[in-house]
Symmetry: C2
C-alpha cells in the first residue's frame, strides 16, 4: 500500500491528527531504541529508515487499541501501545532485510537494499540486530504474555518462510498450501498487531479474537495484491524490483489460478513459461485467461471477510478508518 | 573445546552424574521445543542436532546454578535452569548457522553446513527460526527480567558481529577493538549463562556479577584459542574448515601480535602475506616470531582472571568443575 494512500486515508479522518502524532511518537521510540554506540550500526539503521514507509502495522496496533472502546483520543492509548507498535515495526523490518537476501532483491522503496549495498553478510546481521532489538524492547514492557505472543508469531512467520523456500519451483503447489503459507508469512504478524493492540486496551476476548481474524484476512489480501503487483507493477511505482516472484520460482496465486484454469491440456505450456521464466509468454497466457480477475476477486472477498469481523466494535472513527484501510489493500499500487 | 574433553572432565567429577542427567533433560527440552508441524523444519533441525556437541553454555548455566550454594544435587536446580539452558543453546546454534553464512563455511562438526547443503536462504531462515524459538521458550518462563537480560546479550552479540564484518581486512585493527569485539561476540553470552544460572538460584549480587565476569573472561579466552586453532588446527580434528579467518580477512590476535612485533620495518611483508592470503608466508613469519607464544600467554592470563573470579563461591564439586572447564579452554583441540 503506498505511503500517500495510507497518509491521505488517515488525514481524511477525524481521528487522523491523533493517529499521526502517535505514529511520530512510535517513530521516535523506534529510532531511539535502535541507536547504538557504534557508528557502523547507526549508519545501517539510518539507511533502512526509508523502509519504514507505510507504518501499516504500528497504525493497526494503535487503531485496534482505540477501536475496542470507540475512543478517539490518545489518552486512551497506553505507553505500551507505542512500545508494541515500535516492536512490530522492527520485526517487520527484520523480515524485509532478510527477505531481500532470500529474494536477491536490489531495490526496496526506490533505494538500494542492504544486501546489494553492503553484502549478504551485513544484511544477515542487521536483520538479526533488528529481531534482537525487537524482543529486547518488547521485554521492557514487563509483560511476559506479550513476549510469548510475539514469539509465537515469529515462530509461525519463520515456518512460513522455510516452507515457501522449500516450495520454490513446485509447480504442483496446491492452493491451500499457498494460502497457509501466506497466512503464516504475512497474516500472522498483522493479526497479532490488531489482537495485541486491543489486548492492551482491555478489549473483550471476542473483540481481540475478531481483530486477530481481521488482521489475518487483511494480511492475506495484502499478500495477494503483492503477488499481482509483482507481475504487473512497475519498479518506479512499487519501489522494488518487479518480476522477482517468477525469477525465483515462487508460485503465487495468479499463477496457481492460471495453472488450474489451463488444466491438463495447457499444462505443458504453463510449465514451459514458468521454467523458462518467460514473462512475455506468461503475460500472454494470463491475458487469455480469467486468472487475474479471479485472483483480484479473491483478494476482494478476503477484504470483505476482514471487514465483517469488525462488527464486534463500537461505532467510531477508529472503526471507520480500519474499514477504509482494509479497502485500501485493493487499490494499492505499491 | 572437544566434546570428549568436556565429557571426560564432567565424568571425572563427583557431580558428573547429576550434570549429565540434567544435560539430557536440557537436550529433550531443546528438541521438543524446536519440533514443528512441518516436515521441512524438522529435517533441518535434525541436521543441526550435530552442532549441539559441546553443550558448554548449558553446562555453565547448570553449574553456576549449583555453584552459588555449593550444592551437588539436581534438586537445587529449578525447571527454569533447564529452560534457560535450552534457550542459550538455541541462541548459540542460531549464531553458528548465521556465522557459517558470514564465513562461507562448508564444514561444521565434520558435517556439511546448512548454507552449503541447503543454500544461504535456508540458513538465514533456520537461524531466524532458532532465535525466534529461543525467545519464545524464554518467554514461557514468565520472568521478564530474563527476557530483558537475554535481549541485551543478543543486541551486544549482533553489534559485535556487525563491527567484525566492518573490520574485515582492516590491518590496522587496534588490539583493544579486537578484544571488545570478542567480548561482545563470545564473552557476552557465556557471561550471561553464568550470571543467569546463578540468578535463578538466588545467588548474591556479588556472586552473580563475579560469575558474569568469569564467563566473559572464559569466553574471550575461548575465542583466542579458536583463533589459534584456525591457524594451526586440522579440519579432521576441529570439525570445521580451517584457515577461514585469513581467507576472510579477519584480523585475529596472533596476527595482531605478529604485526606489532614486526613493527614498521616488517609491515610491508605482513601486509603482503595477509592481502595475498599467503598461508605459507604467514606461517614463516609466525614461526620466526613470539606471536603464538604471546597469544597463548594471553589466553592463559584470561583463564587465570576467570578462575580468580570464582573466589566468591563456596567450596564444592560445582566450583571444582568450573575451574577445570576453564583450564580446558587452554588444551582444547576443537
Amino acid at each position: 500500500m503506498d505511503v500517500s494512500l495510507i497518509e491521505s486515508t488517515i488525514a481524511s479522518q477525524p481521528i487522523g491528527g491523533v493517529l499521526t502524532s502517535q505514529l511520530i511518537a512510535v517513530g521516535d521510540v523506534f529510532q531511539q531504541h535502535l541507536a547504538s554506540s557504534d557508528r557502523e550500526i547507526n549508519e545501517l539503521c539510518r539507511h533502512i529508515e526509508r523502509y519504514r514507509g507505510k507504518m501499516l502495522r504500528p497504525t493497526l496496533v494503535l487503531l485496534s487499541g482505540l477501536a475496542v472502546t470507540g475512543s478517539e483520543t490518545s489518552e486512551d492509548l497506553d505507553k505500551k501501545h507505542l512500545l508494541l507498535a515500535a516492536v512490530v515495526e522492527m520485526i517487520h523490518m527484520a523480515t524485509l532485510v532478510h527477505d531481500d537476501i532470500l529474494d536477491e532483491s536490489e531495490v526496496r522503496r526506490g533505494g538500494a537494499t542492504v544486501n546489494s549495498l553492503n553484502g549478504n553478510e551485513v544484511a544477515v546481521m542487521l536483520g538479526d540486530y533488528l529481531i534482537s532489538k525487537a524482543f529486547h524492547l518488547c521485554s521492557t514492557m514487563g509483560d511476559p504474555s506479550i513476549n510469548l505472543a510475539l514469539g509465537e508469531v515469529t515462530n509461525t512467520l519463520c515456518e512460513g518462510e522455510v516452507i515457501q523456500l522449500h516450495r520454490r519451483n513446485d509447480m504442483d503447489l496446491p492452493e491451500d498450501v499457498y494460502l497457509d503459507l501466506v497466512s503464516r508469512k504475512t497474516g500472522s504478524l498483522i493479526g497479532a498487531c490488531c489482537r495485541l493492540g486491543s489486548v492492551l486496551s482491555n478489549g473483550t476476548e471476542k473483540q481481540c479474537e475478531a481483530l486477530d481474524e481481521f488482521g489475518r484476512f487483511m494480511g492475506v489480501a495484502f499478500q495477494i495484491t503483492d503477488d499481482v503487483l509483482d507481475l504487473f507493477g512497475e519498479t518506479a511505482v512499487t519501489g522494488k524490483t518487479v518480476g522477482r516472484d517468477l525469477d525465483l520460482g515462487k508460485m503465487t496465486l495468479p499463477l496457481l489460478r492460471l495453472r488450474d484454469e489451463l488444466g491438463s491440456q495447457g499444462r505443458d505450456e504453463f510449465d514451459r513459461v514458468v521454467e523458462q521464466r518467460d514473462r512475455t509468454g506468461l503475460q500472454k497466457l494470463l491475458d487469455g485467461s480469467q486468472a487475474m480477475e479471479s485472483t483480484t476477486n479473491s483478494a476482494r472477498q478476503m477484504v470483505e471477510q476482514a471487514k465483517s469481523r469488525l462488527s464486534v466494535l463500537p461505532e467510531g472513527p477508529a472503526l471507520e478508518l480500519m474499514l477504509q484501510l482494509a479497502d485500501g489493500v485493493l487499490t494499492r499500487q505499491s
